[in-house]
Symmetry: C2
Subunit: 341 residues, 2 copies
């Protein structure tokens, strides 16, 4: 059976071509991929930063909405025609992290879309245990945002955010905005800091307060807004040295800092401030099944301005130019690839 | 009424001389100080690092055991002759941190012994709200360890340490050893890392496992001991760049790092590891009233090898030479000053 796929061939090259596909094996499901969002991890992959992990030609992509096309033996919870999304994690089930109930941060985690073929193809076979059912009335285009929304739900859960708390989100890209949306749903007051003016404008159009930390004094503003206390929670989503420096200045006594970003360089962190104000910090990665359930509920509610995050929908053939557009850092937010008609 | 006191006069100079003392005012208590331990903060003060906070001549010191000598108006819970120790904190009671129940990290905290006169004198007047009663049978010499023990109790509480967990303590000075003692009491397995050979030997004589991170591969050892998991908790007490680098290597997936040390320089911290393994970090400072109650109970139990931590007891006149001995970093652990006969 033939399929079309976007193959990463190394050296910033993506080739869209034909491939072949077998029927799904036992416990597997074959999906007809509807939409696949492109995320920062895909960009890292395209830039060659994960060449040690991938085997070219590699199909990547993992933010999907899909319809079930075929079902393997032993799969009873899903049937052909169901709308689904994928939690693209394949944990070992045996390491200390898995045994402690943290299989999403399994010490030998296989991420489907990096360590196994991903979603940028017309047909995609995955283990049935990765699937979450989507409500029929949810548009498949919007449903491609469930995976990044699950990241945001996980981040907010890790922050132990309470109603009425003041949260600063450093970074107004797709994940930062989704965190802001989830935090607002949880009853928090939200301030987003961002340096890109296209993103700043979009954030404001979505009704969030936003500041540019390169030109405005965010710490003074937050202290004013909180009666000198400081922010209850800081989400560090920028991955920058400046973000690592400001996070400890913004948090209140016993405030929580949540590190969402992937830092490619080891930054300086003011540990004295952790001592002085008994700050707390939690790293956060990926998601757990209940984060997907919460994300599906939020995305399906129809009340959130999610479609404003989708800056473009392109066909599979245009995947490489979409990657170039994202790396230019300009007027792009979330780009979806339409993988099948 | 005359008293003797050790006056810090700036520029690494301490002068022991006479002073005068008034009767305690309303809500105050005058103590006859028995013993005062010298801690790292006192050394920082002696080195001039806090000259912006202190007014010379300044009496410092805050790890005390004492007998009540006089009681001011309105003080009903204590009487002359009671044995007490002091929780040397004077919070404002009004800032956001105080209102949130965290008055020990008050945003305008006065630390008695830095921001107000300390204990290195024969007679010391403090607010009655700072006192904790000591059991009569507890030797006043040992009781001078209650304050640092309360620090350790607070640190272990912040770590949320559970029975059977594996804890690495980076730094085998007095606080590191007291944390080890408290952690062992809480049922944890403990490994101490330390570079000073005098301290390494003492740590081992106290029955703790210990390694020198400059000559031994602590990470491999901890992974072996924990079935590849890593440490449940890492207490960073060294305040060094090396300690900041190793803490993220030692902790297991979702492991907790507790920053106890006062970092005088901003170190690099591998935030990628916080993301990758969902690490958690909590800064910890000082203590709360229940930490003192737990510390008094532990110190009074008579079962802990606390007197081994007291490397010397010297008279008030020898305070400056005790400071010199501590700063040399050699064969000293906790030095107590006998403040009155």
């Amino acid at each position: 059976m033939t399929l079309r796929a976007a193959y990463y061939e190394g050296q910033r090259t993506l080739r869209v071509g034909d491939g072949s596909s077998q029927r799904p094996g036992p416990g597997q499901v074959q999906l007809q991929v509807a939409y696949c969002g492109i995320c920062g991890t895909d960009l890292h992959l395209f830039h060659g930063h994960m060449d040690h992990r991938v085997h070219v030609p590699q199909v990547f992509g993992h933010e999907v909405s899909a319809t079930i096309h075929a079902v393997g033996d032993g799969v009873e919870s899903f049937k052909v025609g169901d709308h689904v999304t994928v939690r693209p994690l394949d944990p070992c089930g045996e390491c200390p992290a898995c045994r402690a109930g943290n299989s999403h941060v399994c010490q030998r985690l296989k991420f489907i879309g990096i360590d196994a073929p991903g979603a940028l193809q017309t047909l995609w076979t995955v283990p049935a245990h990765t699937l979450h059912r989507l409500p029929d009335q949810l548009a498949l285009e919007t449903a491609a945002l469930v995976e990044p929304m699950a990241v945001a739900c996980h981040d907010v859960r890790r922050a132990q955010l309470n109603r009425g708390e003041y949260a600063v989100i450093q970074g107004g890209g797709p994940i930062g905005i989704l965190i802001a949306i989830v935090a607002r749903q949880h009853g928090a007051k939200v301030l987003i800091t961002e340096v890109n003016s296209f993103r700043l404008n979009l954030v404001r159009e979505l009704g969030f307060e936003a500041m540019n930390p390169q030109t405005e004094d965010v710490v003074s503003y937050v202290n004013e807004q909180t009666g000198t206390a400081g922010a209850d929670v800081v989400f560090e989503v920028s991955g920058s040295a400046a973000g690592a420096a400001s996070m400890t200045k913004l948090a209140r006594v016993r405030g929580r800092i949540v590190v969402v970003a992937v830092f490619s360089e080891v930054p300086k962190v003011d540990l004295f401030q952790f001592f002085w104000r008994e700050l707390e910090l939690a790293g956060t990665r990926l998601y757990q099944p209940h984060d997907f359930e919460e994300a599906i509920e939020l995305v399906s509610s129809g009340k959130l301005p999610l479609n404003r995050l989708i800056s473009e929908v392109c066909p599979l053939e245009k995947t490489e130019s979409a990657l170039h557009q994202l790396e230019s850092g300009g007027a792009a937010m979330k780009i979806l690839v339409r993988c099948s008609e």
